[in-house]
Amino acid sequence: MANIYFDYAATTPTHPDVLAKMLPYFTELYGNPSSIYKFAQGNKTVLDVAREQVATAIGADEKEILFTSGGTEADNWAILGVAESYKNKGNHIITSSIEHHAVLHTCEYLEKNGFEVTYLPVDSDGVVSIDALKNAIKDNTILITIMYANNEIGTIQPIKEIGIIAKEAGVLFHTDAVQAVGHVPIDVIDNHIDLLSISAHKLYGPKGPGALYIKKGVKLKAFIHGGGQERKRRGGTENVPGIVGFGAAIERATKFMETESARQLILRDYLIEQVLEKVPFAQLNGHPTNRLPNNANISFDFIEGESMLIMLDMQGFCASSGSACTSGSLDPSHVLLAIGLKHESAHGSLRLTLGESNTKEQIDQFVEALIKIVARLREMSPLYEDYKKNNEV
């Protein structure tokens, strides 16, 4: 049975055109870009082409793009790097309560090492409180790190407003744009962004490469020490094929973004509408409109997410959930709790993230399957039993 993939926020396939561009760099053009013979120097050039492609996608200069081993390293570098380089200025960092673990766990690490971190609350749509942000800024604040768009509920933050506040306060602004780049237009200048994280495998590039945009003038020490790669700021032999693929993928994603995001947005709204109409006790999580064009996150009362996922999987649907059971931890998604969901509802959430392969027909098939699965799981649920008994007429 062919899979129907609704988990593009988890990862995307590498587009065949992108892979085709990468292939020569494995077996034929394998030179180390640091070597000086022509055979290898060509690979230095292709790195710079990719750098330019990444820079163009976010309105940056190619000198401001440093390649990393993914979104997580970029987030770590940005936050730990600012902490280290600006610790003489202060030890306070502001973030939100709905960041990805790459940001949250890095902030928690800093808390154990003498830094103070403010975790801003979000409203029920998942939007960071601007008032809380303004109030949180202190003399010793050195960094605001707030994600561009949330990976679970899709909510897009008021980035420009945050950028202006940061700028006025003289505080650096980092944004984890891993879910946003290639999906919504981004301009680092217009939004006053100092640091921005990207990951290739979220935009039809290969797993592995990522990048950190470091605005000219921002001091940021090396995080991974080694050879002179990336202008001495990130040691390690460059993943040439991966970076070539990253560049090709981001260029491609940017090119098709307008039409493809519009197409996905229509599908997404159709999906949400169908589910909310046909499945009782369901509610949309995240901002109703200000959200990633491909993200739908819906909670279903009385049932648990992992069970839903497994039943969907048995019918070939790939999706994700905020249930703790999925991750083997005990608490459900910190994002869903932060927007005020009860534990039960957080456990019963389903994240569907659309991509280039998805069609209306797939959504129809999905909704049909979902209706039955939810009904069956409710039949098995002691919570639903109690609900019915308590609400019997």
Binding site: S307, I310, E344, M380, P382
Partner: protein
């Protein structure tokens, strides 16, 4: 992730449902942790004549409930009491490490139902302790 046995019991849970006027009912777990199990018992002549379950929880939670009911069906009270989480896990060909707590939950649900049966019948089941408040107490996470 899950063994075939687990998947089988998840897809075709045995003894899922309610027992009207059950002799004993036990509900354990809480929604916070994402799993709640309820077990219904019908007991006659010290024998588990019927057992059913309802579960809110992950695949492992459903499968362990299902397996637990299978293992106690037709057993004496004392035999049922000694259906441990280890026995349930073994019968399921194992569980992922992160899911072991589900099998504990099944054991606890069974004990809670037996406790309820004992209470209702004013009897003492030897070796049975009152249900714990939170079945997750005392678990450990891997540490680094």
């Amino acid at each position: 992730m899950y063994s075939e046995k687990v998947m089988d019991h998840f897809s075709n849970p045995r003894n899922m449902g309610e027992i009207e006027n059950a002799d004993g009912v036990g509900t354990v777990g809480n929604a916070k942790c994402g799993d709640i199990m309820r077990i219904y018992l019908k007991v006659e002549n010290d024998i588990v004549q019927d057992v059913k379950f309802k579960t809110f929880g992950c695949g492992a939670a459903v499968a362990t409930s299902s397996m637990a009911t299978e293992l106690v069906m037709g057993k004496t009270i004392q035999e049922a009491l000694h259906v441990t989480n280890a026995a349930v896990m073994e019968a399921l060909d194992g569980l992922p490490k992160a899911k072991v707590h589900c099998s504990l939950l099944a054991e606890e649900a069974l004990h809670a139902a037996l406790w309820d049966y004992a209470q209702k019948n004013d009897m003492i089941i030897e070796g049975l302790e009152p249900p714990k408040a939170d079945v997750h107490d005392g678990e450990e996470e891997e540490e680094f």
